[in-house]
């Protein structure tokens, strides 16, 4: 039986414990919890046009035993729930391919739909710019921003890209959309995500710049568009990225400082340029 003189964490309550004010405190908190749980159950219900887009989810991680229809406690149903709930919650974004990978990773780690949902909301709604909206302006902006940063930090690479007509979106769109899922090894991705949640979207540039800077000689010796693309594929494999601890240290040293101010300025500049071009 539950002992009243022990709190939910296991600490014994002192004799003068103020039960009535504690009760009051809890009733406020309980209301918050209830609101949240009602919100969650509402999100799971109701029809929305997102549903038709949330298909082919079995193509998320077909090589993962937890994401097979046949597996005993398949996460596919949870994946569907999280994505559908997110579509209801944020109709401007709805569902965009790539979000399935993100929700999938969150489920693998938290093993909890609701937690995955809120973490996803933190990522998409707060940490990342608008990567997944229909026009994907945030994504296009960040690809150009990366180009500008490469121009500053590895001008030779920037030149090579220009000479071979390699659009940044060709080589890095997956990096940004999937937040390095399926690009880098799982362990490394998770380490990157720790930093991403903690420090914000700047981390994505640190990782991208580190990969590019580290392989600048190879990129610069490429003499055609296919060659450049091959180097970009190769550089996401091998011991440099497998050794996740060393890699995470490198991302803070490899390319020197990267201030928030620089990033904000570049984002403003590139976004304005893109908007102008598209109008």
């Amino acid at each position: 039986a539950e002992r009243e003189d022990v709190d939910p964490y296991g600490f014994e309550r002192s004799e003068d414990f103020d039960y009535s004010s504690y009760e009051e405190l809890m009733s406020v908190y309980l209301a918050v919890l209830t609101r949240r749980s009602i919100k969650w159950s509402k999100l799971l219900k109701g029809k929305h046009r997102v549903q038709k887009n949330v298909k082919y989810l079995n193509r998320t991680f077909p090589d993962n035993i937890h994401f097979r229809k046949s597996s005993e406690r398949s996460l596919l149903a949870s994946l569907y729930n999280v994505l559908r709930a997110y579509g209801h919650h944020n109709p401007d974004v709805g569902y965009c391919q790539g979000m399935n990978f993100i929700a999938g990773y969150l489920l693998l780690i938290t093993k909890d739909e609701e937690k995955s949902f809120w973490l996803m909301d933190a990522l998409i709604g707060r940490i990342l710019p608008d990567y997944y909206t229909p026009v994907m302006l945030g994504l296009k902006t960040d690809q150009e921003v990366l180009g500008e940063l490469v121009r500053l930090k590895a001008p030779g690479v920037w030149r090579t890209m220009l000479d071979n007509n390699v659009l940044w979106s060709l080589v890095v769109s997956r990096w940004f959309i999937c937040l390095f899922i399926d690009v880098l090894p799982v362990e490394t991705v998770l380490r990157i995500w720790d930093c991403l949640f903690y420090e914000g979207s700047k981390i994505l540039f640190r990782v991208a710049l580190t990969l590019i800077h580290r392989h600048q000689t190879e990129i610069q010796t490429a003499s055609s568009l296919p060659d450049v693309c091959d180097v970009f594929k190769r550089m996401t494999r091998g011991p440099f990225v497998d050794e996740s601890h060393a890699f995470m240290q490198r991302i803070f040293t490899e390319t020197g400082s990267l201030s928030r101010t620089t990033l904000t300025k570049l984002r403003t500049k590139c976004r304005a340029k893109l908007t102008e071009e598209e109008s």
Binding site: T60, N100, K140, L167, S169, I177, L225, K265
Partner: protein, 210 residues
């Protein structure tokens, strides 16, 4: 690209660029991988962004490099992939014979290609239409219907299965052939094989304070 480079490159095998477009899940990546790597797996993940594979072929005694560009079928990613439509020599429109929706979408895909790819000869540009997944029983689009649609704009129709390796090679070889004709007619005069140009001129002026 300056002309001296293209003169040297004329000795090199011509690069025939084929782009594969169509709805999500129709089997674009599967078809490409079957052709290039002779493999099929159910384990493909949805394509994010784009990718390409190259294969050497001999067409009419001439060796060429067939460069196949695989794109994501998701509507949202179209604007990311469409800059790559330029410089294409043959466009492969893919649908799933068990999905009417994927077939009706081809009209829109074709239009989008012509707008973004800006071929010089939109009326005669070579299109190959491919109905994939003929190995499945519940067919929704008949060959007749597909052929009828193709006739309207002179596309060639093929159908087959990446899974069972039916008519994959044939389809690509025909696309490569048509691409080679397009290449000879319309690309050689343009110098350089890649006509993918950066939309935005990257100015060199230093107006950045960071």
């Amino acid at each position: 690209m300056d002309t001296s480079v293209s003169l040297i490159q004329e000795k090199e095998p011509a690069i025939i660029k084929i782009i594969i477009i169509g709805n999500s899940g129709v089997g674009k990546s599967s078809f490409m991988n079957r052709y290039v790597n002779h493999r099929f797996t159910n384990l493909y993940r949805a394509t994010i962004g784009m990718d390409f594979l190259s294969k050497s072929e001999t067409l009419d005694g001439e060796s060429v490099t067939v460069q196949i560009w695989d794109t994501a079928g998701t509507e949202r990613f179209q604007s990311l992939g469409s800059p790559l439509y330029r410089g294409t020599h043959c466009c492969m429109l893919v649908f799933d014979v068990t999905s009417k929706i994927s077939f009706s979408a081809l009209e829109q895909w074709r239009k989008e290609f012509l707008i973004q790819g800006e071929p010089k000869n939109p009326d005669t540009f070579p299109f190959v239409v491919l109905g994939n997944k003929t190995d499945l029983p519940d067919r929704e689009v008949s060959s007749r219907r597909a052929r009828q649609w193709c006739e309207r704009f002179g596309a060639e129709y093929f159908e087959g299965s990446a899974k069972d390796d039916i008519d994959v090679e044939k389809t690509f070889l025909r696309a490569a052939h048509m691409g080679l004709q397009q290449y000879k007619k319309h690309t050689l005069e343009n110098t350089g094989h890649f006509q993918i140009t950066c939309k935005q001129p990257r100015e060199t002026g230093n107006n950045c304070q960071c």
